[in-house]
């Protein structure tokens, strides 16, 4: 097992999601978008949650934050943050956890920032709201945070408005805001997707640095296998609402076991290999109301057989490494 996960007792878990089911209820019926998902994040660990659009990765994250859209409902499951069950808390107590214990970094920083407030007001706001810090001091702390995320000339830039920042700086400001109250867990939802690669590299470096200096755990949601390989310790692969494979980053890249994980790896064009032909996955991700019988990947799977009409359980293919595929029944 990955060194970070070894020698740890379950009590120390930063985040434990167990058997989470989220459904959307609408006039057209019920859509199960997160289907019995279990996921853990250990202290100081960077966990990658990888999936394509519609896989349920963002809704899993929003469940932790208590920010699901109004027509989504958690049907079953538990979510524990450092041992405390979040789903039993009142909305007021829940709000206290956001910012204080778990922070969120969204994909589109410019849309998340308030365009008419100066950056220091926004980065300093958590102090005012959670700690009742006087504004002058909160703004001073905001400047320190901006310096910590490597914004040059932080005192002057703090007085500017979000639109005066470049895309990379806006994302840094969001990270600064997330770090304000030194939460145990950062949830980052595709925070670099809108950025240029050179800027993305800087933001990833910053996240690694935060983990080193603050010991912050990070749940990193992405569709980019390259980022997962670069940044994370442990990986969950999500497909159509369910986790189909999980393991250490070494296991996932050296011994990918689920056909979907293997297909994703072969479908990604990279700069260091010449592909004569990418192996594409036929079809598209099924909608929650058109899931096939049995295994949810069956329609697109190159190695399906009779057994796949029945839903497979998780099979252990390595230490702590599991894959939800009948082909793994006999072991790795």
């Amino acid at each position: 097992m990955d060194p970070v996960r070894r020698h740890r007792s379950e009590a120390a878990l930063t985040l434990a999601i167990e058997d989470l089911v989220v459904e959307f209820h609408s006039g057209r019926g019920v859509a199960r978008v997160v289907d019995h998902v279990s996921l853990t994040v250990w202290p100081g660990e960077i966990v990658g949650l990888i999936g394509e659009s519609g896989s349920g990765k963002t809704l899993t994250a929003l469940s932790v934050l208590g920010l699901l859209p109004g027509n989504a409902r958690i049907v079953t499951g538990t979510i524990r943050l450092s041992g405390q069950s979040l789903l039993d808390l009142s909305e007021a107590r829940r709000r206290e956890t956001r910012g204080e214990r778990v922070a969120f970094i969204p994909q589109d920083a410019l849309r998340a920032l308030n365009p008419v407030l100066r950056v220091d007001m926004q980065v300093g706001e958590p102090f005012e709201i959670h700690r009742h810090t006087p504004w002058e001091e909160a703004k001073r702390k905001a400047v320190e945070l901006l310096a910590a995320v490597h914004i040059r000339d932080p005192a002057a830039r703090a007085r500017e408005y979000p639109h005066q920042y470049s895309g990379g700086m806006q994302q840094r400001a969001m990270i600064a805001m997330g770090l304000a109250l030194d939460p145990q867990l950062l949830i980052a939802d595709e925070p670099t997707t809108a950025l240029d690669v050179t800027v993305q590299a800087q933001v990833l470096k910053l996240l690694r640095e935060i983990r080193e200096t603050h010991g912050t755990s990070i749940l990193f949601i992405t569709h980019d296998l390259g980022i997962v390989a670069e940044l994370t310790d442990w990986v969950y692969v999500m497909y159509a609402g369910a986790i189909v494979e999980q393991g250490s980053v070494e296991q996932i890249f050296q011994h990918p076991s689920h056909p979907y994980t293997k297909a994703l790896l072969r479908a990604t064009p990279t700069i260091h290999t010449v592909h004569s032909e990418l192996v594409s996955i036929p079809g598209h991700i099924p909608l929650p109301n058109e899931l096939p019988e049995g295994c949810r990947f069956v329609d697109r799977c190159p190695v399906r057989f009779e057994r796949c009409s029945e839903e497979p359980p998780d099979f252990e293919v390595g230490a702590g490494h599991t894959a939800r595929c009948w082909r793994c029944e006999a072991g790795p």
């Binding site: 690669v197 050179t198 590299a201 479908a267 064009p269």
Partner: protein, 276 residues
């Protein structure tokens, strides 16, 4: 003397960005770019946002007029053509954009969308156009029955197949693609990239392919031009750009890409170093 299909000769594009009559502020989006595209090859243009790659593509498509320099299609300046020649040039040159849903009329059926280029250029009869639409749909891997659907009934990958069908229906020589797979999921992106390659083989197309994704550029391109701040900083055979880049910026760009295998090797080495 040259057989280049497309020549971009010392082209610049300057946009006025504001200021006053006395002190204008200007932005040089494309700065003295020279390049050529040979028949049958794929030229990849890669760069970050603001590098001018999309502006260059719009200049080639004659959607923008260069501030200086010339763009030649089959040896003739696209801004010095007669109406008839221009009409012909437009048949020879087609485009695929990033987001097909914004370049389709949502109220038209796929069949009508695909027939439009044929009608504009008075190709065939009503009946033969319908056949051509059906054939082209099959060619891009869609069932002919898709002609009766509307854009919103299609998935992102299917819409991009229709966009490719529209681009090739006039059997052009040159297809310009601007980030055609950036909005797609990885599994679907691979399908579309393979379709681009297959169409090139079957129809003998020439591509100018613009993307910010270096992996995609490497996969599709024979030659690559790296752009930065309006200039082409490095150009050469794809293999050479990716394995032996000479410009500092190209090196920095390649270093910044999180590549699964490389990241992997780097981390293992770091771990080994930490242990030693």
């Amino acid at each position: 003397m040259t057989d280049a299909l497309l020549e971009v000769q010392d082209v610049s594009k300057v946009f006025a960005t504001g200021g006053t009559v006395w002190s204008r502020t200007e932005l040089t989006a494309v700065d003295h770019v020279t390049l050529d595209v040979q028949p049958g090859e794929t030229l990849g243009i890669v760069g970050e946002s603001g590098s001018g790659k999309s502006t260059l593509l719009r200049l080639i498509l004659r959607l923008l007029r260069p501030t200086s320099g010339h763009i030649l299609l089959e040896g003739r300046d696209i801004w010095a053509m007669s109406r008839d020649d221009l009409r012909y040039a437009r048949r020879r040159m087609q485009a695929v954009f990033q987001d097909p849903s914004s370049s389709f009329n949502p109220r038209q059926s796929i069949g009508a969308i695909l027939a439009a280029p044929l009608e504009v250029h008075s190709v065939g009869t009503r009946a033969s156009r319908r056949d051509t639409v059906a054939e082209t749909l099959e060619l891009v891997g869609l069932n002919a029955s898709f002609a009766h659907r509307h854009p919103h009934q299609l998935s992102g990958g299917q819409r991009q197949r229709v966009a490719i069908a529209r681009a090739i229906i006039l059997r052009p020589q040159l297809v310009l693609a601007d980030e055609p797979t950036s909005a797609l999921d990885v599994s679907v992106q691979a399908q579309i990239l393979n379709l681009f390659k297959a169409m090139k083989r079957e129809l003998g197309l020439t591509y100018v392919f613009v993307s910010h994704n270096l992996g995609v550029i490497r996969y599709v391109s024979d030659r690559v031009a790296v752009m930065r701040l309006g200039k082409v900083v490095e150009m050469g055979p794809s293999e050479e750009i990716f394995t032996n880049p000479s410009h500092e910026y190209t090196k920095a760009l390649l270093d910044a890409v999180p590549d699964p295998e490389l990241a992997w090797r780097r981390r293992r080495e770091a771990a080994a170093a930490a242990e030693a």
